[in-house]
């Protein structure tokens, strides 16, 4: 099954810009379904990015983050060809991870 995580990590000199898109409903818990019942909250809580054994970015998300959430950040110290590990875990304990290559 395809990963829920899409990553683009592009190195420009010493700085690597990372963009990620994760497939996730990010249900807030405030919306009702067609039967009028609340759809329970189901959202990512933590997204972690790791390079060279070190965490380079951590996102702590609540239900107000949009569906299929996007993220962009930049960090120093990576080179083309390096591995960038991305993982997330949600409030139901579901998770996914991906290893991307810096380009």
């Amino acid at each position: 099954m395809a990963s829920t995580i899409r990553v683009r990590a592009i190195a420009n000199g010493d700085t690597t810009e990372v963009q990620s898109l994760i497939q996730h409903p990010m249900d807030s818990g405030f919306i009702k379904d067609s039967k009028g019942e609340l759809i329970p909250a189901h959202h990512i809580e933590v997204v972690q990015f790791e390079h060279g054994g070190k965490t380079v970015f951590t996102a702590l998300w609540g239900p107000a983050v949009a569906k299929d959430p996007y993220l962009k950040f930049s960090f120093k110290g990576a080179s083309k060809g390096d591995e960038l590990k991305v993982s997330w875990v949600d409030n139901k304990g579901q998770s996914d991870s991906l290893v991307a290559k810096v380009q």
Binding site: S28, F30, Q48, A59, L60, V89, S97, V99
Partner: protein, 165 residues
């Protein structure tokens, strides 16, 4: 749980990775499910309390244990009128020194804190994300720099509510 950039949980994980990876599992002495992949996101970091707060002050107190002062060195890029409250692109940048955290609050949302980010050394003080906004609201960006909190805010007009309204 108060946020801290040097979360000790990570150290534990690194040790496990070094010792257990392959070895013990290969010998069948340790179940594979007991091994935590070195890059699994640590759910324990999630600041549950902070995400329940309804005011800016309470959310920041739960998250950082401090209050923020307004600063023009925090740049918050947000649309004047959101095209759709379900997906509002927000970017926070700051030229402040020693930034360890960034948080975004949406004051008119049921829970004020939308997202918080940990910025380790070597990572830039900038983040772009997309948020849901229930209605026209003030959006507050907070930056933790050298142990202090600085903020900037903008009003975003929301015509089509982002929470299915």
């Amino acid at each position: 749980m108060i946020l801290s950039p040097d979360a000790p949980a990570c150290a534990r994980r690194t040790v496990l990775k070094g010792v257990l990876a392959g070895g013990l599992a290969g010998l069948g002495l340790v179940e594979a499910s007991m091994l935590l992949p070195a890059y699994a996101a640590d759910a324990a970091q999630w600041p549950q309390d902070a995400f329940k707060q309804k005011s800016e002050a309470d959310a920041l107190k739960a998250l950082y244990g401090k209050t923020a002062e307004v600063s023009d060195k925090v740049n918050l890029d947000a649309p004047e009128i959101a095209e759709n409250g379900a997906v509002v692109p927000i970017t926070v940048t700051s030229g402040l020194p020693k930034v360890t955290g960034i948080a975004v609050l949406v004051l008119e949302n049921p829970f004020t804190l939308a997202a918080a980010y940990k910025i380790p050394e070597g990572t830039q003080a900038t983040v772009a994300n997309r948020l849901k906004m229930a209605k026209t609201t003030k959006v507050v960006a907070v930056v933790e720099s050298d142990g202090k909190l600085y903020s900037a805010s903008k009003e975003v007009k929301v015509t089509v509510g982002g929470c299915g309204g």
